[in-house]
């Protein structure tokens, strides 16, 4: 059973663990290690980083042996659209106010679904905006401008 490395589930997981562990260990090298009696801020992260690299190596080797592939395809499209909608919402909140940000969030995220009907999405956007306003602004009293135009900051 031969699986391409890029489809090999445990190989990729191991690689990810090794990367996170190694980066954590590397960054923690600049923090004082202290000693066992007086643990410095670098003590715990360095130990964790090393342990994570260890687990990563075990996972990676097992992946090479078993060749188990990733189950189901990668959902790159919904992942990209959902992430982009969140990022857009965050950025817009600081520039154009709550209402336009919400509309953009709802409409753009709905695009990640399998079915996209303009009529439905319009209703959804209005309903969700009203829901958000009634919970967060009128209910919890959060001080957001509903509409704003601030690009100078």
């Amino acid at each position: 059973m031969k699986t391409r490395l890029l489809d090999n589930r445990d190989f990729l997981a191991g690689l990810l663990f090794i990367t996170i562990g190694a980066v954590g260990f590397g960054v923690a090298l600049s923090y004082p290690f202290g000693n066992v009696q007086q643990m410095g801020p670098g003590f715990f992260p360095r130990i964790l980083g090393a342990i994570l690299v260890g687990f990563g190596v075990v996972t990676l080797v097992r992946g090479l042996r078993s060749g188990e592939p990733v189950q189901g395809g990668w959902g790159w499209f919904p992942l990209a659209v959902i992430t982009a909608s969140l990022v857009a919402f965050g950025w817009l909140m600081e520039h154009v106010g709550l209402v336009p940000s919400l509309v953009v969030l709802i409409v753009s995220s709905a695009y990640a679904g399998r079915e996209f009907r303009w009529g439905e999405v319009a209703v959804l956007a209005v309903a969700m905006t009203l829901l958000a306003l009634s919970i967060f602004v009128w209910g919890l009293g959060m001080p957001y401008e509903l509409f704003a135009f601030e690009f100078g900051r």
Partner: protein, 503 residues
């Protein structure tokens, strides 16, 4: 009686109009959202967390607990009607519950779930009231070494019992621990892993991690999936179970409650393990085990009872030791910490109204749940038909606005998106998110207790094995790990978990 006077205090807190309202709102919202297909208790709590931060600690905990068991019950409804459990623990209920629904017995199945949950909820809450203080008193003797060993045990348990590969689950614990390090070090004041981002000086926000991992990543997973499901809502008519049904579910409910209460009190053991063991027990005890999987009513009652009992007794280690027993409890603990309360045995003596108010509210909440569910089951059944394409933008709305509202900063929304991407990649690589969130919540405490223990022992690791309680925790941890590594047992575990997943 000590417990009685404390319970009286608790009911005094829980029965104020304000807390009664929050309990009701929590149970109602929890059921409402939990019943929506594909949304489990974790997503529900994660997305509603920011709403509770404005309340005082007692009210917010009461409301969160209400959301939790509401969502848990809502999830069972969805499991029975749509065979689409929002969480692993209700997957067991789905095995026979869905079959009952297909045979036109959706009503009795739903009623059984409601009754079993109610009985289990009341009994196990009594257990929390009696055993919580005992554990708390015992834990007051704990020093840093005991806490470190106990947390280690909890983390290893959570990894052992997570579905999937042990090494990867342990690695996820470590990833969570490292995520917990981000921010300013309490002892030295040095910012760690903040990469010059001002917002990271306070660490990666708790809601950011919870929402990213359990709402955003989950949505992407659901959108990338392509399956059609059959819904049985037209059949929900005669709700009441027959007298024969009641007789059939009495013992399974009590046995499920006993199993669930026991498992729930052990840190790291999830409700799904309790539900699955209760199901297996009933199958063993049944005169005709072949009925199971084909709509056996005991197969609905026992796991539902176990599930709910474990959900309540999870509060024992969470509130008395500060060690969350599951991912949901980690969310509760995180919410407490955000309210400025350091969880641990001292909470019970310093804030008795918090512990006893919550315990009393669990009685109230279970009654509310039953009152709410029997008449409203038709409405809940109709809600299971809401298409997912309307739901996920709504969840995202809560995720986005909720995270923005924490610090009024877009950075938390960006971080949440990043955690979501990471969570999705992990999920695709079959790495479980639950051990990560436990590691993330316990990380700072684990480091602090390790530091304190080693400081007091003058750098000698012997302190962890010379103190008997600490040694006991470490021995149990080692035994569990050994048991997992012995290959024969391991194969048995994989088979057991696969059967559990089959629903």
């Amino acid at each position: 009686m000590d417990v009685l006077s404390n319970l009286a205090l608790g009911f005094g807190v829980a029965l104020t109009l304000k807390n009664l309202t929050y309990c009701f709102v929590g149970v109602f919202l929890g059921t409402l959202i939990g019943v929506l297909p594909g949304i489990g208790p974790l997503v529900t709590i994660a997305m509603l967390l920011p709403i509770t931060f404005g309340l005082d600690p007692v009210s917010s905990l009461i409301m969160l607990a209400g959301i939790f068991y509401g969502a848990q019950y809502g999830g069972s409804t969805t499991a029975i009607l749509v065979n689409m459990p929002g969480e692993v623990s209700s997957a067991v209920t789905a095995i026979d519950g869905y079959q009952m629904a297909r045979q036109g017995r959706a009503g009795p199945a739903l009623a059984t779930a409601a009754i079993a949950s109610f009985v289990a909820g009341i009994i196990s809450t009594l257990l929390v009231a009696f055993f919580g203080p005992l554990v708390g008193k015992w834990a007051l003797e704990f020093g840093a070494a005991e806490y470190f060993s106990l947390m280690l045990m909890g983390l290893v348990f959570s990894a052992v019992l997570a579905h999937g590969d042990l090494v990867k689950s342990l690695a996820m614990v470590v990833v969570g621990l490292m995520l917990g390090i981000v921010g300013t070090d309490v002892t030295s004041g040095l910012p760690r892993f903040s990469f010059g981002v001002v917002e990271l000086l306070d660490g990666v926000g708790f809601t950011v991690v919870a929402v990213g991992l359990f709402a955003v990543a989950e949505i992407v997973q659901n959108l990338a999936r392509t399956e059609k499901v059959e819904v049985f809502t037209k059949d929900v008519k005669n709700l009441m179970p027959t007298w024969a049904d009641i007789k059939a579910i009495t013992m399974p409910t009590l046995r499920g409650t006993a199993l669930g209460s026991f498992f729930g009190a052990l840190p790291g053991i999830t409700a799904s393990v309790a539900a699955f063991s209760a199901y297996m027990l009933e199958k063993k005890l049944a005169k005709d085990p072949s009925r199971f999987g084909k709509g056996a009513i005991e197969g609905v009652a026992a796991p539902e009872a176990a599930n709910n009992a474990a959900a309540q007794t999870h509060f024992i280690p969470t509130l008395t030791l500060g060690i969350p027993a599951s991912a949901v409890m980690a969310l509760m603990l995180g919410a407490l910490t955000m309210q400025g309360i350091q969880p641990g045995p001292q909470v019970m003596t310093s804030r008795p109204e918090l512990f006893w108010g919550l315990v009393a509210s669990m009685f109230v909440g279970n009654v509310l749940l039953l009152l709410l569910n029997l008449p409203l089951v038709g409405l809940w059944a109709r809600l299971t038909q809401v298409p997912y394409r309307w739901l996920f933008p709504a969840i995202l709305m809560f995720a986005a606005v909720g995270n923005f509202s924490l610090n009024n900063s877009a950075m938390d929304v960006y971080l949440c998106a990043a955690v979501g991407v990471l969570g999705y990649v992990f999920a695709k690589l079959d790495c479980q998110p639950a051990p990560l969130i436990l590691g993330y919540v316990l990380g700072p405490m684990l480091e602090e207790n390790l530091r304190r223990a080693l400081l007091m022992s003058e750098g000698s690791f012997a302190v962890f094995v010379t103190r008997p309680i600490s040694l006991a925790f470490l021995l149990v941890t080692a035994l569990i790990l050994l048991a997992m590594i012995v290959p024969t047992l391991r194969r048995g575990r994989e088979r057991a978990l696969e059967e559990g997943d089959a629903g």
